[in-house]
Amino acid sequence: MGAVEINADGLQTRDLNDRLRDMMLAGKRKVIIRNVCGQRYIGTRLYSPERHRMEIDIFGTPGNDLAAFLFGHRLVVHGNAQDGVGNTMDDGEIVIEGRAGDVLGFSMRGGTIYVRDGCGYRTALHMKEYEGKKPALVIGGTAQDFLGEYMAGGTVILLDLKGQGHRANFIGSGMHGGTIYLRGSVNRSQVGDQVEISPIDEADRGILDQYVSGFIEKFPDLELIPEEVLKDGFVKLIPRSKRPYSDLYTY
């Protein structure tokens, strides 16, 4: 089945999402949206009890909360994204051929997000995991402050392909689950007290292999070679405890 197109030029958020929903209910599985300019919540209105799955190609710049509560669809943004991508996302895949704004992957509990370039503040806050659901966030560049705050599960990988170094502070404050992998290094002063910095082991290599290959596949234009990306050192940030505040109280 061929893709259907929507010209988003001049469409309000709600109108655009109305059309997307109608297409999903009409059985369309592949949609291309052109001239997107700041419309919010693309992909959010696509819940169906039948669990329909769509593939959506977005040209232009989608607005905030792209794919909030995403229910298993696949979105590709041919450009940059704004704040709140994948907010409380449940499942699916988001590929951003550019940069993402603040609050990326907030409280995400499943699915995968690949961002070609960097991202803003408060990335992967309170990301979680549960049984088979294990979200992953792979960033080609690096992130800004408050990365992984209160993180409770999932995997975040920052590749820093341009070698700018990780300069974020307050990484992983209150972290009590999940793993952050950084290509390159990070100072103790940049990470929260609840976080342990450790070298990677064989199991970590397997995870990195998988997601780095995935990343390279999504962005062939970067002409990356997996071995080149993986040969440099990675560090791993994990929480010291699943119960960071267990000693805080008295009765």
């Binding site: 009890p49 609050v103 409280s107 689950g177 009765y251």
Partner: protein, 504 residues
């Protein structure tokens, strides 16, 4: 370290009545009572008793009395026993004092300083036993103007209406999460809400999947800062969605459900691993402004296809009315305000007892502010935190609320005695625990029947009070402060409440 704190309670056992059945030993999860086979007697350790009265009520021979420990420190108006003991506890542990239930300090309870009106002679009272009395309430945004068309003598509403919740009485079960309370307690609330034609609020612990089909249409599901158990299915199965920003028992702070309460089923519902702390950060980290809140409100509306009203719950604090007006402009259909005496499963005592304002003042301020701004129709107000009886409900309506949330009252109906030990997970009444042995004590049929009985009784009392005022629809009482008068209040309090003094 030797503790310098007295036991809080004293257990007196009438040895002549005690039959050594060991029922008290089985009832107490805190291990207060133990059987000594040598002396064939039950020994009670006052230090372990929390005063929940489970053993006393279930003793088949009424042999146990649990009363406050009469030991005293030298009486001192400044250094009450509680203040002294808090210092000792903190000196012994270095911890933040945790507690449960609502504020128990003697702040003025304005409900008890307001009296209702009744008809005499000129405006006859109405007898609800003989005449229809409307308690049905619709919660959600109402249009500014209602436009309609008449076609072939058929009236058709032309205005696009917002989704509303229809509730048969102005009483909704307040947010209590599965995780904080037991599955049976949660199921009892859901069962009672569906029998009564009202709603239960899931709190932020998710809604177990097997309950969604049957109870979803009576559920208000919560989205809080921890975002536990939230996916599009959860949002769509419910009648309404509530964004929890604040809670009266602990305004401004988040919550930590301790790992030991995260059992297999709690983990499945919250969608987090077993045994991890479920941490709700103090703010929503995607909401730092009214604009951000508006974004989440609309994200939820998008996720639910604009089919459900979205509520925003905030704690009543100093300048909350202006903030609430902003929340209405942000697109909320319902504002739930939770006052100083609102309950909780766990809160730092210093916050519970010192932060926030009484709900009575808050209702009136909020209603007035929204009227002044000309946006009162755009949202409904649900008042929470300290509603103890039907008179409190009706006074809340007269002050301007559309409906009320009850939490503690519902728990008390199920057996809770407000011992304030909810955070221990050892609730002997099977309400606030995840221990299957304890939770099994709460029979869902009986507990839900007790809830139905309570709300039915309150509804009838509300009808009686309304009828007495010569009013036959709750709608006519909403914000009708003329039916209230204050007794023993200062001028400023009357002003904030917007009521006259008694006799005026």
């Amino acid at each position: 370290m030797k503790s310098f704190v007295f036991p809080q309670f004293q257990i007196i056992r009438d040895e002549a009545k005690c039959g050594q059945c060991r029922g008290c030993e089985r009832q107490c999860a805190f291990g207060t009572h133990t059987y000594d086979p040598v002396s064939d007697r039950l020994i009670s350790d006052d230090n372990k008793c929390v005063g929940c009265q489970r053993c006393a009520i279930f003793c088949p021979r009424d042999a146990i009395v649990v009363r406050p420990n009469p030991s005293f420190y030298r009486p001192n108006a400044s250094w009450s026993r509680e203040k002294l003991e808090d210092v000792k506890k903190q000196a012994e542990t270095g911890g933040v004092i945790l507690t449960g239930c609502g504020n128990d300090k003697p702040f003025r309870i304005y409900w008890d300083h307001m009296v209702l009106n009744a008809s005499q002679v000129t405006n006859p009272s109405i007898d609800p036993l003989r005449e229809p009395m409307e308690l049905r309430t619709f919660l959600g945004a109402k249009p500014d103007l209602m436009d309609f068309k008449v076609k072939n003598e058929e009236v058709e509403i032309a205005t696009q209406l917002s989704p509303n919740l229809m509730v048969e009485m102005p009483i909704v079960f307040s947010a209590m999460s599965f995780g904080a309370i037991s599955y049976n307690a949660f199921l009892s609330l859901a069962t009672a809400a569906s029998k009564l034609g009202t709603y239960f609020n899931t709190g932020e612990g998710g809604l177990p999947r097997e309950m969604r089909e049957k109870f979803g249409k009576h559920a208000i599901v919560q989205v809080a800062s921890g975002r536990f158990g939230i996916d599009a299915e959860y949002l769509n199965c419910a009648a309404a969605v509530e964004i929890k920003v604040g809670q009266g028992a602990k305004p401004g702070i988040g919550g930590h459900l301790p790992g030991e309460k995260v059992s297999v089923s709690v983990s499945a519902t919250r969608m987090i691993p077993v045994g991890t702390d479920a941490i709700s950060p103090a703010p929503h980290h995607d909401i730092y402004s009214i604009e951000d809140l508006s974004m989440l409100i609309h994200a939820i509306k998008e996720a639910t296809n604009y089919e459900k009203p979205v509520s925003v719950k905030i704690a009543a604090v100093h300048n909350f009315a202006a903030i609430a007006a902003g929340i209405v402009h942000a697109g909320a259909d319902i504002i739930a305000i939770d006052g100083l005496r609102g309950g909780t499963g766990a809160a730092p005592k210093v916050i519970r007892d010192n932060v926030g304002i009484p709900i009575e003042l808050a209702i009136s301020s909020l209603d007035r502010r929204l009227r002044q701004d000309g946006i009162r129709n755009r949202c409904s107000i649900i008042a929470a935190g300290g509603i103890r009886c039907s008179a409190d409900v009706i006074k809340a309506i007269a002050l301007g609320a559309d409906a009320t949330y009850i939490g503690s009252a519902a728990l008390i109906a199920m057996g809770c005695n407000l011992c304030q030990k909810c955070y221990t997970g050892k609730c002997n009444w099977g309400i606030c625990t995840q221990d299957p042995r304890l939770a099994g004590r709460l029979n869902v049929d009986i507990a839900s029947q007790r809830l139905v009985n309570l709300i039915s009784a309150w509804s009838h009392e509300i009808q009686e009070m309304l009828g007495g005022m010569g009013i036959n629809a709750l709608e006519s009482l909403r914000g009708n402060r003329d039916h209230l008068r204050g007794v023993g209040l200062y001028e400023w309090e009357l002003d904030v409440l917007g009521i006259k003094g008694a006799g005026e």
